[in-house]
């Protein structure tokens, strides 16, 4: 029996052979294309390592982290929408720090309402 301990609080859970590394990264064709630039731990400048599709810059950064840094190759990630430049924030220094943007749906919707709408 694999090792168990109540380390999480509610009671005994397995503490050995439990996978933790993220695997699920899905690519959607109809989302815009992003170019990914990576700077290695000892590298001096960002190198283009590939591209991916994402709904928005945050999702592109998260997928880039999952797809391109699993072997801990990179320290900082830049994603560039195929049309223009989007830079991740300068003070990121840890590959696992890349903002997990994850599901933007968790954030409130942004939608401008014209001012002359009654009861607004």
């Amino acid at each position: 029996m694999s090792d168990f301990s109540a380390e999480g609080g509610h009671g005994a859970v397995p503490v050995s052979d439990v996978p933790v590394r993220p695997e699920s990264a899905h690519v959607r064709a109809d989302w815009p294309l992003y170019e990914v630039f990576l700077r290695g731990k000892r590298g001096l400048n960002h190198v283009h390592v590939g591209s991916l599709h994402a709904a928005d810059p945050q999702m592109a950064l998260r997928h880039a982290r999952d797809l391109y840094t699993r072997r801990n190759e990179g320290v900082s990630i830049w994603v560039v929408a195929a049309a223009d430049i989007t830079a991740s924030s300068p003070d990121e220094k840890d590959p696992f720090f890349a903002p997990s943007g994850d599901k933007v749906y968790r954030h409130p919707t942004f939608y401008e309402i014209p001012d002359d709408v009654p009861h607004m």
């Binding site: 954030h107 942004f110 939608y111 309402i113």
Partner: protein, 171 residues
């Protein structure tokens, strides 16, 4: 145990004010503005409290705690009144209460929107004031859930120090 002639209101206010909120024990009912009044009515002590949220199960515990502590402090007759009007607002949380919340890693509320007449519908959240992170003070924070674990709180994430933290909703 000597029962005082008329209840010593100052002492009673101190005892009543010290009752902690059962779910947020770092702040008291006085800090949260739940304790509205401590008065005398014919030799009897009348303590008035106002509920925060309709469904909050803590109100009854607060009433029992008030009775117990005041009795233990020698106040023979205590009646706990509930005042529904005016409805509780997060504006009632005192500066001291806000300090304790922030110290415990919970962001205190902004001023509540003025409420009279039909409530305008806002479909966008961009008009809100930024909530500063209790851990690192950054204003670069994002609301991840408008409803968190309890009625009075929302969940935020600080984009600077990555800390998830709760915000006492302005209402």
């Amino acid at each position: 145990m000597v029962t005082r002639a008329g209840p010593d209101l100052a002492a009673a206010r101190a005892v009543a004010g010290a009752v902690p909120d059962p779910e947020l024990p770092m702040v008291t009912v006085a800090d949260l503005g739940i304790l509205r009044d401590v008065a005398e009515d014919g030799g009897r002590l009348v303590v008035t409290i106002t509920p925060t949220y309709s469904g909050c199960p803590a109100l009854r515990e607060i009433a029992r705690d008030l009775e117990r502590r005041l009795a233990a402090a020698g106040f023979a007759e205590v009646a706990v009144r509930t005042a529904l009007a005016p409805p509780w607002s997060s504006d009632w949380i005192t500066a001291e209460g806000r300090r304790k919340l922030r110290e415990a890693g919970i962001a205190p509320p902004h001023p509540a929107p003025a409420r009279h007449g039909p409530v305008p519908l806002t479909l966008t959240a961009t008009r809100r004031e930024p909530v500063t992170c209790p851990q690192c003070g950054s204003e670069h924070t994002t609301r991840t859930a408008v409803f968190s674990g309890t009625a009075c709180k929302a969940l935020y994430r600080c984009e600077s120090c990555r800390e998830p933290f709760e915000y006492v909703k302005d209402i």
